[in-house]
């Protein structure tokens, strides 16, 4: 059952972008993925004169039959990579994706090492020690008390 679900999930991951790529480009969708470089916000939220010109440019490319990727490529050619809301997965921009993954792996590794040391310490005596038995007078008194309750 789990294998089946995993297969379905994988298929969806593979097919979804392909399906999206086949859809005609729309200004509404592209506005969510690109920036207004002057405003420093998503184009979707921008109302500056530069943003208006950017929309005109996008609409013109859509009217020419360009798909979403082609429109974004044209925007990058005009404004540079900064126009993309999500940086491209190459060069220095790759760090935006790699750093969180590396940080997560380091955190998991540190947690694993910590837990292993803690567990080893608990059974090996390096951590909090098991209480030692009483000695001397205390031991004698304990034996006497236990003998009284020995049924």
């Amino acid at each position: 059952m789990i294998r089946l679900l995993a297969l379905i999930a994988t298929a969806l991951l593979v097919l979804a972008p392909a399906a999206a790529a086949e859809q005609p480009a729309s200004l509404t969708e592209i506005e969510k993925q690109v920036m207004c470089p002057v405003c420093g916000t998503l184009l979707q939220l921008a109302e500056s004169p530069q943003a208006q010109r950017e929309r005109v440019f996008i609409n013109r490319l859509i009217a020419e039959g360009k798909d979403e990727e082609q429109v974004k490529d044209a925007l990058v050619a005009e404004y540079g990579d900064e126009v993309l809301a999500l940086p491209p997965g190459s060069g220095f921009s790759l760090s935006a994706y790699v750093v969180p993954i590396v940080a997560f792996l380091i955190a998991v590794a540190a947690l694993t090492v910590g837990v292993l040391r803690w567990r080893r310490g608990g059974s090996g005596g390096a951590g909090p020690r098991a209480a030692a038995g009483p000695s001397g007078e205390d031991a004698d008194r304990l034996d006497a008390d236990l003998a009284r309750y020995d049924l």
Partner: protein, 163 residues
């Protein structure tokens, strides 16, 4: 952790530039020309006074100052001085139409991603920087310039008073 902090510091350092002041060395990054496949830089004008004009076609004050800049270029542009326009964060077609509309004859470069404007520390457009023949900034004019400013502030610094 250190890597993350390092990245944050790098990001802040690379974005937090302040506007160039008089006496600062002007950046000389190479930029594509607005028309054609050539490139240009302040280095090309070493030995000349250069009025670096940051502008964009969507900027209303840029439209207001363009005729004054063109007039000043026609009057003073020679072997010792030129205006150099840097079109920043703009669409190429819009910028080319702007140049044609106002009949701008001085050289035009393109700074599509705004990196050069950042190097100068501009906070908007238009902004003007007068650079001397040694490549040092001599005047900074945030905001549009007009004929009066150009005649009173820029012309007297040019060889022969710009005459």
């Amino acid at each position: 952790m250190l890597a993350v902090v390092g990245l944050l510091v790098f990001g802040l350092a690379s974005k937090g530039s302040s506007r160039l002041q008089s006496g600062d060395t002007a950046p000389t990054a190479s930029l594509p020309a607005l028309e054609g496949d050539s490139r240009g830089s302040l280095v090309d004008y070493k030995g000349r006074w250069v009025l670096v004009n940051f502008w964009a076609s969507w900027c209303l004050p840029c439209r207001a100052e363009a005729p004054a800049l063109e007039e000043f270029q026609r009057r003073h542009g020679k072997s010792s001085f030129t205006v150099v326009g840097i079109d920043t964060q703009d669409l190429t077609d819009d910028a080319q139409a702007f140049v044609e509309r106002y009949g701008l004859s001085y050289p035009q470069l393109r700074d599509g991603n705004g990196d050069t404007a950042d190097e100068y520390g501009t906070t908007g457009v238009p902004e003007n920087f007068l650079v001397d023949p040694a490549g040092k900034v001599r005047l900074v004019a945030p905001g549009p310039v007009d004929e009066e400013y150009l005649q009173k502030e820029v012309a007297p610094l040019l060889p022969g008073g710009g005459t």
